[in-house]
Symmetry: C2
Subunit: 202 residues, 2 copies
């Protein structure tokens, strides 16, 4: 089946959202932890966290201009620090629940049954139930003019992980860490290793 | 275990690359198909393809300033069109092999044993062996000043997919399509659905 531009334009909006949210393939699943000027913590699930570079260690995520995500944005801008916490098999439902539109005065940590944790004097809350936790310092925001979304760029300051999850070559065994992957907006999957290949040469 | 900034700086460069390439979580696996002004086709695997929006339907990918990826970049800039082709379980080794540094005069399609396909008069080659194929028109490139990588933004013009892979709500069943996911630079995994959750409300 071929779907063309003229058919895309005519699609019902929810159908189109589901189609294009699954079309890019599997995505990462991270909870972003932040804290407001009034010391109210915030937690929100994102499927748009990406690797940007290892030297310096940079990660990004895409922000859409919605109410829920706006709390995350405001807190990052005022505090300057935030956390990424991998969603694992044991906390899928709680993690998904953070996508609900809670009032700014309510912390999703409490509302969704996840435990906030302040480690190493880091100025943003981690998720105690996460097995892989990352502390970031905000670097820059980049507007994507095509649809007014924003790429938020941060530098990794701190990684909290069990030592046995890191292989000899530095790779993290994500399956062992029970990290899950997301398809679209609402489907959570476990990944099973098929093969690890060596550096390719012509 | 806590890994701090001062430890990150001291890491051996390959170890650091593996650590941070796996730290963001699972990634999509796509072959990007392009064609040069001299009509030489090019194919390269990318683990950085992301969803940017459904209306208009936009996808992005991150380009690092390396030799291999430069062919993809040049071709997109001159032709204006390119394709994303999901990597599936049957073509993992061939897809991975496209990451080798082939000369500009050599098409990775032939060199890696994949079949180029020109459909619907689209001005870039698709991968015949891919089950999900996407044709894009180049929209804009956005520099990420923090590390001089580039976010390439394209608008979806055409989707080629079997009808039975699309669920009633528009979502694609990626497991059924045998689409695989990547961890880091070299580990390929199959994903197995755990749960699909409904829209969350407070």
């Amino acid at each position: 089946m071929i779907i063309t531009s003229s058919e895309i334009i005519k699609m019902e909006s929810r159908y189109r959202a589901n189609l294009f949210n699954t079309l890019s393939g599997y995505k990462s699943a991270n909870l972003i932890g932040t804290i407001s000027e009034d010391n109210i913590t915030n937690l929100a699930i994102f499927n748009s966290v990406i690797h940007l570079g290892a030297h310096p260690p940079l990660m990004g995520f895409i922000l859409r201009p919605t109410t829920v995500e706006r709390h995350t944005y405001d807190n990052i801008k005022t505090a300057g620090y935030y956390t990424f916490n991998h969603v694992n098999e044991n906390i899928i439902e709680k993690a998904h629940q953070t996508s609900a539109k809670y009032d700014r005065q309510i912390s999703e940590f409490k509302a969704c049954g996840l435990t906030e944790e302040f480690n190493q004097n880091f100025k943003a809350p981690f998720v105690a139930e996460s097995i892989i936790k990352i502390g970031l310092k905000f670097k820059e925001e980049i507007l994507i003019p095509s649809n007014n979304t924003i790429l938020m760029v941060g530098e990794i300051q701190l990684v909290q992980i069990e030592e046995e999850l890191i292989e000899e070559d530095g790779s993290i065994d994500l399956s062992k860490a029970k990290t899950i992957t997301i398809s679209g907006l609402d489907t959570y999957l476990r990944a099973e290793k098929l093969i690890k290949l060596s550096y390719a040469r012509p």
